[in-house]
Symmetry: C2
Subunit: 592 residues, 2 copies
């Protein structure tokens, strides 16, 4: 197996040359106070060392060993405990938490790179600090000052971890029908009773305490999603002096045996009158959860990117080393009995498809990260609002498109190794299995698509597309004659999006099924167009750099590849979208 | 987990109503003598019982347990040995072997249905009899009468199994560079020495003997693929009286740990001067192997179909049963807190995509099967030749397209179950893992595409497409006004194929990389067009039937779905094909 190497050069290109973080941050004093661009760059260099040296080496063994469960206790794979300890010691658990609560205060555009490295190194392991960071955000935004002070610093330091307990056996996507109950107690706390499933890191041996954020219903709660509240339920109760007290009435009933992410403990959690505290307003739990959803969903998208990046590095090394057959053009190496795989067109097609998705995805996650930072730190309210709108539009695409292209990429990365990609030894099949979950959890990709087309695009009558279209227009206007073909292609793609959007909007009134039936293809259409925009933007920057580093020439070549070979996929999607909902609803239940 | 149920109604529809096997066989006396249509139907009904009751129940447990290896011995999962014994007893191992050598003499169009059932039941298990059937074909076509009489009856009866030993550690696809040697011995046999990897069923505990077909080089062999010979090497030597003698010098060095097909023993085989016998002419081993390739490759394509069919049955049952959210159109069940998943557009999209690929694939494998039968049994030489040409064209498409759509289908089938699709308990993730290998072995799908576009289409300057285009035209001429939109769509698709083919052919002389660079997209393009043809053909038959059985109405609806939602994908492929090879060869090795 190739060792993992973080793509620092590309990350720095994206951060400094494409998204100009120094300029951007100069307009945001609150951010600038916590972090400057040079420090961020240095932090990423350190992050590369940590993920390459500390996290990545455990991934294969952790997959083989998995987590084990006995007597309500979960044992993580060998090496995880020590790796987590060192990670916490280095301050890498609380990277996004604010400095006054013990975090590093890293802007999202930077932490997005760190998350990519963590996911490329080991998605399973990344979930323990990742969920903790998510829980911190929810608490920071909604919990009382008392709860914040009591819990966040010890989560940000990695002394404790966090979870999110949403799903129940009968209720996955549909949180409106959860049954977990919260009974008010005399001391102002609540007794939480119910069963949650698929709880990532619900129990483990990495830390002494685990802080569960739990969705539950108050006794007088209205039915459906407007009757859900959020509670903080620690595994071990915390005394007033901060010391750990009694064990709370929450425990893991079992762990799931899964296709992948074997090192991640996915638990059934039983709450038997466990003591918990309300976070935020009663019956506003879903809103509190949604605060961190935009962060989390980008994070899950980045899992697809990380898996693809890890797979690419092995596939590329193999394609250069392994000799099979002869190139079509000419024998490359007459002294050997065969040429390296990389001379073959189909191997190049697969490698370049991966490369286009990975570097495009890196630019995309950075684009969303920058908007998240602007939404939080921009001084001008209208800039914050515009960024917020763009984030709302892009988030479901980031989650779904980066994981769908992530799976496609890991499948290519496996295919390049042939039979050696199918055996476990090389690791390529693990990245497929590990990546696959990211299309499912944190809201399935189908749900993301509904959110995009239903709530965002149709919900705004198309208005929410405008900030994105403005950004694309700005890049199109910068493109010189060397990019006239690609500019025209992108311009036509944007027109196609507008036409199809208008067509869908015109049918919403007459056809209740239209959103529902086209959402996934629509999300993919936008995803391919956004990557085309980002590839053109990167190509223009690379060309303007005047650098003789082959990195810049390669960037331009990969941009050309994307326009030639990947963007045309939108025409297949457009056909399916134009066909409407009719053929999906003609079948009666017995016809299937 | 849902129990597996074979799709007998659809198989009978395809065999009797779409492909009219009774009429077809009436023109082929040699076939008719062995088998009539009624008997074939009865055999499939028995096959359904065997695969549903004997094979399918082992699949999940076999995946968990896997094969184990110790001291050069391989133990198969619990239940496999007894299942294989009963299968052999029922005559199901030698289904395609000729009756005079102990087989059932089943025509390929029938055995294709049986193979689908076997693969849906358990791909891992299916490989033991499947490889045996393949070895029988190679021996039947090329071995001396003595070898045939000595080995085939006992393989057809399931007393012994067969393997194919091609791949070596340094040579996967590129068989020209194998190193295994065959030294002639005084008694006319050969001493075989070398190491083979990825040998399916190379060692196991199901039978007392295993007959290996091994590619090796004679001492004076020319370099490359024209210097390869085929040898029969039994695990245990067979005495003249047919009793088992000494153990031969061949043994399993280890078994691979793989992503899936855990119940299949994938072995490293060491030949240490093992005694073998030449099969066919010296240095003509690859040609002998290719005899069975058309059969085997269709069989591997059917693995994709089988996995998809198994996944669909569970996904459909789950979608009808599981309640999440409310349908867009109206609440379906006001008495429950949520509607069944099947009301949701995206769930229907995934189910119908699977259904369209499965029923389209079933028609496709039957279409190829019918052509294989005609190529073998037709009285008229020109009919045999036309069928042979069509088989040569369709085989790489069958192998690659049925496995690519098979993987897509199993991924949909997993996605429909959400998180429950990712945990092992439900089995949906197993069909993904088991299906994945079929895109890799027996020539990767990239190699299939090269065979199609390079050897077949470009090699014949497009002439080999003609029999297929004739078949499509015949169906287009039968389509009435109710199918005018779909006919037009299919007609345009055929034109697109012709235009793109002409364009590629016009560039072959100037661009050595053109075939290499476009082959995969070209294969997919043809695959989608062939499925469209078969869907139109099925729809016309269903409509003409006049039956009130909802099966026929559903067939028509699914055909409409295919044209509305799946066929448009060709426009994405066409764009990538039209873009040529340039963007794939711009990158220097260091640019990746």
């Amino acid at each position: 197996m190739s060792d993992y190497k973080a793509s620092l050069q590309d990350m720095n290109f994206v951060l400094h040359e494409v998204f100009n973080i120094a300029d951007d941050w100069a307009r945001m004093p609150e951010l600038q106070e916590m972090m400057d661009a040079d420090t961020a760059t240095a932090i990423l260099q350190e992050a590369a060392k940590v993920t390459e040296g500390l996290i990545a080496p455990n991934a294969r063994q952790a997959d083989e060993q998995g987590v084990s469960y006995a007597d309500a206790k979960v044992t993580t794979p060998d090496g995880y405990k020590e790796a987590f300890r060192q990670l916490a010691e280095g301050g890498w658990v609380g990277v996004t938490a604010s400095p006054e609560l013990g975090g590093m205060g890293l802007p999202k555009i930077i932490s997005a790179q760190y998350e990519e490295m963590m996911c490329a190194a080991d998605i399973s392991f990344s979930l323990y600090p990742g969920l903790t960071a998510g829980a911190i955000i929810a608490l920071d935004s909604h919990a009382s000052d008392e709860l914040k002070q009591q819990y966040i610093p010890r989560m940000a330091s990695g002394e404790w971890t966090g979870t999110m307990c949403l799903t129940e056996p009968h209720a996955g996507t549909d949180l409106g029908i959860i049954r977990t109950k919260a009974e008010p107690q005399a001391d102002g706390s609540f007794a939480i009773t119910g069963t949650k499933i698929f709880i990532t890191g619900g129990e483990h041996d990495l830390t002494d305490n685990i802080i569960h954020l739990v969705l539950a219903k108050l006794p007088d709660a209205p039915a459906g999603s407007k009757g859900i509240s959020l509670f903080l339920v620690p595994k071990v109760l915390v005394n007033d002096d901060g010391s750990l007290g009694q064990r709370n009435a929450v425990s893991a009933g079992s762990v799931e045996h899964k296709m992948g992410i074997h090192g991640s403990a996915t638990c059934v959690m039983n709450f038997d009158g466990a003591q918990g505290w309300l976070v935020g307003e009663p019956n506003r739990g879903l809103a509190a959860m949604f605060t961190m959803m935009n962060y989390e969903r980008l994070g899950v998208g980045i899992q697809g990117l990380g898996a693809a990046a890890r797979s690419y590095s092995t596939a590329l090394a193999y394609a250069k080393d392994r000799r099979q057959g002869r190139g079509a053009k000419a024998t490359q190496d007459p002294n050997a009995s065969a040429d390296p795989l990389i001379v073959h067109g189909d191997i190049r097609r697969m490698l370049l498809t991966m490369k286009a998705f990975i570097e495009g995805g890196r630019a995309f996650s950075s684009y969303v990260g920058q908007q998240l930072d602007r939404a939080k730190y921009a001084q001008d309210a209208s800039e914050r609002e515009a960024a917020d709108t763009l984030v709302a539009l892009l988030t479901p695409i980031a989650k779904a498109f980066m994981t769908d292209t992530g799976l496609e990429s890991t499948i290519h990365g496996q295919q390049i190794l042939g039979g050696h990609g199918y055996v476990r030894e090389w690791g390529q099949e693990q990245w497929v299995r590990d990546c696959r979950i990211a299309q499912i959890y944190e809201g399935t990709n189908g749900i993301q698509a509904l959110d995009l087309l239903g709530r965002k695009v149709a919900g705004s009558r198309g208005a929410m597309l405008q900030p994105l279209l403005n950004d694309i227009q700005a890049t199109l206007q910068q493109a010189g004659p060397a990019w006239s073909a690609e500019s025209e292609q992108l311009g036509q793609a944007v027109e196609l999006v507008q036409q199809l959007t208008a067509k869908i909007l015109s049918r919403v009134g007459d056809d209740e099924n239209i959103i529902n039936s086209l959402a996934v293809e629509y999300l993919h259409l936008l995803g391919y167009v956004i990557y085309a925009y980002l590839w053109l933007r990167m190509a223009l920057v690379a060309e303007a750099s005047g650098s003789t580093d082959t990195f810049y020439a390669a960037k331009v070549k990969t941009a050309r590849f994307y326009f030639a070979k990947i963007l045309p996929r939108i025409h297949g999607l457009a056909g399916a979208i134009a066909a409407g909902s009719e053929s999906l609803y003609a079948h009666d239940e017995g016809d299937f």
